[in-house]
Symmetry: C2
């Protein structure tokens, strides 16, 4: 354990992943070559890509259910665009639960009618809207499962007969869900999966082929499916490191196992936020994210004292996003429980100092 | 020296770059954190991005001349699309000199009239077309400076008053050119610059703002310029490793210095191809690429013998592309002269064996 890294993303990955990735830069698979100097068509890398795709589907329980897993470039921001390019023929409906959801809305508007049918913008996105209905004539419903900046997370998803497209960038592989209820799931790697530079896109094939527009090759899900994520040179290192992280998760017992630990970490931190009179939580209690806990000081004048304490405790990356202020502790899969214990101890120490 | 790596890309990088990149995966800048677990907004990474951009412009001699350097995702294939999205209002003209040039044409056709004003397809792309004129009413002229698959390279570029957009993926930073004659230069990193996963785009700002279509945020050059390549999370590791490679090149003496070595390597190999009666070159002599030498056996029945010999010599990655057959020896910046000497010695040994 080097530092207690609560960074919101890019973020902590398992230590064994750092070790293996570092080694592969020098000598990959005993080839006497670096993983970044071999052809992406080399059988050693093709095996990596296939394994990453298979592991993603296996961990999500989607193998044999008509889904394909792709590792693309461009981040979730490119998916805001690609989802609409590939699926929006007439009208799509979106839930606006934060900065990223709003950006997804903006890009989709270039391609058709976009109705924002639910929003929590009225309260600076501190809750997840509920109780709305999704029109049956929509091409799809788009939502953002976890809102990194505001620290909110869907605990239940709306029931609907239309295809659901979900940006799971900041909580994929962190909790069990019936993933077969989603037609498209996408996630930038740089939270629970790997380094920045690749994006997992899980597509149910039957949702494709329904738009009439011409889709540029690089933005076409069908094209990337046909070429098994190798339409052009993939981001080799990011895919390899994602594969290592997914292997680590599978060896740990998969999503069910990590969810238990994630629940423990979140329970520990939120109970301290609620108990400690010097702090207040930002997000509505029932919508609190198990990945990103957002909290503020009750009295901002104590900021300097607390900041000094957590830095002394070797804690990294808990400054809040400018939209919310205060603090944000991101507790992704690879963050050890021990790191949360250190943070909670620091919050207690702060209380006794003031 | 581990292997003699003639891979066409991803390809060999300087050994010191592998060492530094491997180390940064474990502990970057003595932060006690991996480079892939820190925020891309951390000052340590912001400095990397700034340095990579500055080095790119400095090495190309474009500092202070109205250009910006971007590090984006998606490879050159995404640039086929982005160039047209950002610049094609009415009509663009393209030179078709190979597989990648043809793909660029295909994507551009989604956005306006595209005239292929020169092509070498009639001879399986074994030469660079010359003597054509570029219409003055074109929004831009697009060309591909080096054709990796066919082993051809522009020695001179056509004179024109319209903006020139050039895909330099496989020969950027390898030779001195007056880069200020180009309005947009793009290059996937995975040849002379770094690992797969990022693409350098050098844009002259005055060429932008002339199309009337709405451009999606992720595809807008202006947007990426305004956000200094940080509109969304950049491919951190690929940018860092590119920066290391550009530093290596600068310390070596820049493009002028590497060009001398590249000329030596190419002269050595081509003179053996021409001398050795068992081989014949594929590309027209005057258009031969200094990066990718394509050559075939005069008598294919000797293939097994030659393949055994080069494998014994620890040579990697010289199988030709399926479009050309035979062999392709890629001699990118980081390939040592010694590797070419070993290949030439192996070709001589082959001659004495047959």
């Amino acid at each position: 354990m080097k530092k207690h890294n609560f960074s919101a993303g890019p973020c902590v990955l398992p230590q064994e992943v750092f070790q293996k990735a570092s080694q592969a830069i020098l000598n990959f698979n005993n080839m006497d070559l670096s993983i970044i100097e071999i052809s992406h068509r080399d059988k050693n890398f093709v095996a990596v890509m296939e394994k990453a795709q298979t592991l993603a589907l296996e961990l999500l329980g989607l193998e044999g259910k008509g889904y394909k897993a792709l590792f693309l470039q461009g981040g979730a921001s490119m998916q805001f665009l690609m989802a609409a390019y590939n699926l929006l023929e007439t009208k799509a409906v979106y839930a606006d639960t934060g900065t990223w959801a709003a950006k997804a809305v903006k890009e989709a508007k270039l391609f058709g009618e976009v109705d924002v049918i639910a929003s929590s913008k009225d309260k600076n996105y501190n809750y997840i809207p509920k109780g709305y209905s999704i029109p049956e004539d929509a091409d799809y419903f788009h939502c953002t499962s976890n809102n990194t900046i505001f620290g909110t997370q869907y605990k239940e998803f709306p029931q609907t007969s239309v295809p659901v497209v979900c940006d799971m960038s900041s909580d994929i592989f962190s909790r069990e869900l019936d993933f077969s209820k989603f037609s498209v799931i996408y996630a930038g790697a740089q939270k629970n999966m790997g380094p920045a530079g690749t994006t997992l896109v899980v597509v149910k094939e039957d949702v494709l082929g329904k738009v009439t527009r011409a889709i540029p090759s690089m933005l076409s899900y069908k094209n990337h499916i046909d070429k098994e994520s190798m339409f052009n040179t993939p981001p080799v290192f990011a895919v390899y490191t994602s594969m290592l992280t997914l292997e680590w998760l599978q060896n740990l017992g998969g999503i069910a196992a990590i969810e238990k630990i994630n629940n423990q970490k979140a329970a520990l931190l939120y109970s301290e936020i609620d108990r400690n009179p010097l702090f207040k939580g930002f997000a509505a209690v029932e919508d609190r994210s198990n990945m990103n806990a957002t909290f503020n000081l009750v009295d901002e004048s104590h900021k300097e004292v607390f900041d000094k304490l957590w830095k002394e405790a070797n804690i990294n990356g808990i400054n809040g996003h400018r939209s919310v202020g205060g603090y944000r502790a991101s507790m992704y899969n690879a963050l050890p429980l021990e790191s949360v214990e250190v943070l909670v101890d620091t919050m207690k120490k702060f209380e006794s100092t003031i």
